[in-house]
Symmetry: D2
Subunit: 298 residues, 4 copies
């Protein structure tokens, strides 16, 4: 199989069960909402050391938000509901409660809940006020610019993390730019994020390391500078690789994101030295979600 | 004292000893450097729950960086050198090592050091290579797009955190926009950052809370909605307040930032309903750096 | 009538017949498309001295464009079809034909046509090639980066220009920021543009001048500095006014834009010193499209 | 001669005498200044059909502007002083006079002058006021948000237009991205602009055409799709070319821009399929400024 002349390997991406949530931040203008969202989603590239993988899902026009103001919808993914419960209120407390004019709302429905105002209200030191509207609880927490209006909680749902595909080509600049095109295309797909910087990572890893303390280390089989030293997965003219890692609320959204992203990567990369698309997996035994490239691109 | 008709209270900001560092991220183009920096500095608004306060110091043209590529200089502040040692490599590992085409360098000199490559090199699983150039050690860590070049360490220096001033006015929109003008003006000052979202916070806090578990809670004396309920610091027409919090490498840089920021706030706010500038302190006993507004504006 | 406490005057905006077109620019990535669009739409604030009023309608995802690449849709309005025929190819020749990787397509259907490739093809010096696909003619014009693919022409349709409303308030900063919120809200409405810088103008004019050569000059009745000197439309606490001018493909789209824009202006401006919303007209005799504020806000 | 492995041809760019000016726009915040500048400089890619070539020189911090507000410096180049006199006031009238909160100042000194307020004042319909400060005349023109403060005139100076270099490589995407890196690097150089969209053009032209009405047409010797049809300047693996065109206030600034831009292009392009750098000239007889690539890169 080829797209724009780029061979697509007959392999699959192996992805994992995740717990996810969506929150909505609104503000007096789009810029404050964006500022709060940028702070909230920063340092959220990988569940390993950031706790959650989180990024902006999309910007919301005033007509799309609970309070009719400009807003931003954020997605966050963790390995457990417990980790979400820890990370979301902490980030909300540091990055949204603090930000002028913002309010915060659930962005998804479901029976299992992640606390928002339920935890943050204590900052009000007893002066916070609870309000029940149509069966939904909100908190009004006194702050210096008035009140921080914050819904009691948001939902958490079962989700999928670690969908991926890998671009291989003749140089890091070439591959990284094809990846950027893929990330841009994926940003238009609903219910998914690409949590790494600019949506892309170049530090593909294998499980384990010669250093006992490390759970993961560089995947030398994909490192171009080690081609002469270790068994390699790279052909002679593949001098660089980068990976798109995608988290999504459903297998369907992930599949769509991979489809759209791979196509964009091929069309942009065809003229830049992109040589091959593959995907990362661990033989299929670690994650129960398998995305076969040929299937989703058919 | 007045600026553009806005009264400046005769009080002082109380700031604290901090340990700080500066790191430089470069990349194949300015956008990858910016993407890595945005990830690195996110969720870095307050030492309380983020570990460090960190933000972009400034963008660097190719001629200003160690490897002649576009870059970004980042400042980070913590309560101890130990916390810097924990946070900087962790954030660098998640947000820079991962980002296509980036390299990482010390951005400041000094005898005390914060590890960069010294810690990150282990990701190379033994395939990393050390290089000594002019007495400075660098690591070349194999990754999928080639090598992550990373200096052994950067310096940490004594610094000052929590310089601040507070804007009071007739509405949250008015005050928040005057604050934005202040943050924009401060961004031109070297060696300082304003770590809160958009550079501003509205969640001023007092020490302690009625809830035993909380070290800090809302400063009700500055909450406009509580004016009828508690002893207040607000006058009748002050319906909102927001605060600029500034961290700097020196008292001098903080003083300059406060001077520039207050002036911008007054000039923009004069026509918007800004009513007063004050500053936050704890009587002077907690932090040993005192910035008297009338003095620094004289 | 009031919105968020701001009085809406019982008056109407008087708008004019215009000829309009929409063109689509696509490119290898969104940034080149944006660069071409920024050049094309610049110096396009007013039909008086720019020939056309033109601005970006909206960004297009790859799935929305004729060639599956990222794109931008542009609207342009003129007083006559002839002026469109003069301006569109000239701007396309200077700003799209010249821009790396771009292509250009009709963005609207209709029997009356505005030339694109029909005129631009001559740049190919005889080496251009015509292609008919499904009855639509395209030109492939040789350029240094390959070929500029350009549709033969686009349509022009009857449209409406000069829909407007005016914000009055206590300061230029206050009014200009409320206007900015209005322009942001209007940018979400389809089929309309606000062609002035940032979507706003402060140079409201009257017909005629004491200088014979000028067709229009400052509308002194709305100038706050002339309040003591001339008969004024301003009340004692109205120290500034700014105007949103809106062009649209239909009365319905203009009405929606005015409705959305006025509401956003009031909600943002209420706390900033906004005092009144009115609209500009010439007694109703010059333009045949009248937009009554109370009617469209009902 | 090679840079990063890319051969630099031993040829020269031929540039032309131009008249140039610099103006400064300030505003209540950086965004209004930017909005006015974007409108002013749009549709300003080429003297042929836009009248002037104009673009932002650089952003100005409040401390760098005549009135202590944020600002933008703009450069404009024309074939004659007369054309500057026509274009500058017209663009200022449509794009700066109209824009909320802006003021306008000379950005360069010299005995020969280009009118600003001198022409624009008439919009005031007799209500404008002149003010002489330190021998410099300013106009205060009443507008709806207060007054448009505008300096009487700015200077025009002798300058150089059409400095250039051409990138040739394996694909339009590759070449266009290398060009983008060059334009980014040049934007750091003082006193120069790259007026084409995104700083780059792909429509290199020769003098004359088979169509009598056209003064210029595609330079078929550089068109990759015509390689089999006409005598070509392209080698077998050069499938695309793009050009940086640079205008500058002096030969020295142009030389610096070309040096910096070519180096950036080579370093970014080396891994992308960039094959050669050359420059455009007409044998040396049309323009009296010759920039020899080997000389300026030595």
């Amino acid at each position: 199989m080829q797209i724009a002349g780029i061979p697509i390997e007959d392999t699959f991406a192996e992805a994992f069960d995740r717990k996810a949530t969506r929150v909505i931040i609104t503000a007096a203008d789009a810029r404050w909402a964006h500022d709060a969202a940028a702070a909230f989603t920063g340092f959220g590239t990988s569940v390993i050391a950031c706790g959650i993988e989180t990024a902006v899902d999309r910007e919301l026009a005033p007509g799309e938000t609970p309070d009719g103001r400009p807003g931003v919808a954020i997605l966050a993914f963790a390995v457990s509901g417990k980790e979400l419960e820890k990370q979301i209120p902490r980030r909300a407390g540091q990055c949204v409660l603090t930000c002028p004019t913002t309010a915060m709302f659930a962005g998804i429905d479901g029976p299992k809940r992640v606390p928002l105002g339920k935890t943050l209200r204590y900052f009000g030191d007893g002066y916070q006020i609870s309000k029940l509207i149509d069966g939904v609880r909100y908190w009004r927490i006194p702050v210096m610019d008035g009140e921080f209006l914050c819904q009691e909680d948001t939902a958490r749902v079962d989700a999928v993390g670690g969908g991926n595909f890998i671009l291989l080509g003749t140089s890091s600049v070439a591959v990284s730019i094809a990846c950027r095109a893929a990330a841009a295309a994926i940003s238009e797909v609903a219910d998914v994020i690409t949590p790494f910087p600019g949506g892309v990572t170049r530090s593909g890893s294998k499980v384990g390391s010669k250093y006992a303390a490390l759970f993961a280390s560089t995947n030398e089989a994909f490192c171009p500078t080690l081609r002469q030293v270790v068994p390699t997965q790279l052909t002679a003219d593949e001098d660089a690789a980068c990976e798109l890692v995608i988290d999504g609320l459903s297998e369907a959204s992930l599949r769509e994101a991979m489809r759209v992203g791979i196509r964009a990567a091929c069309h942009t990369g065809a003229d830049l030295g992109l040589r091959r698309i593959t995907a990362g997996n661990y033989g299929g035994s670690l994650g129960r979600h398998h995305f076969h490239l040929h299937e989703l691109l058919a």
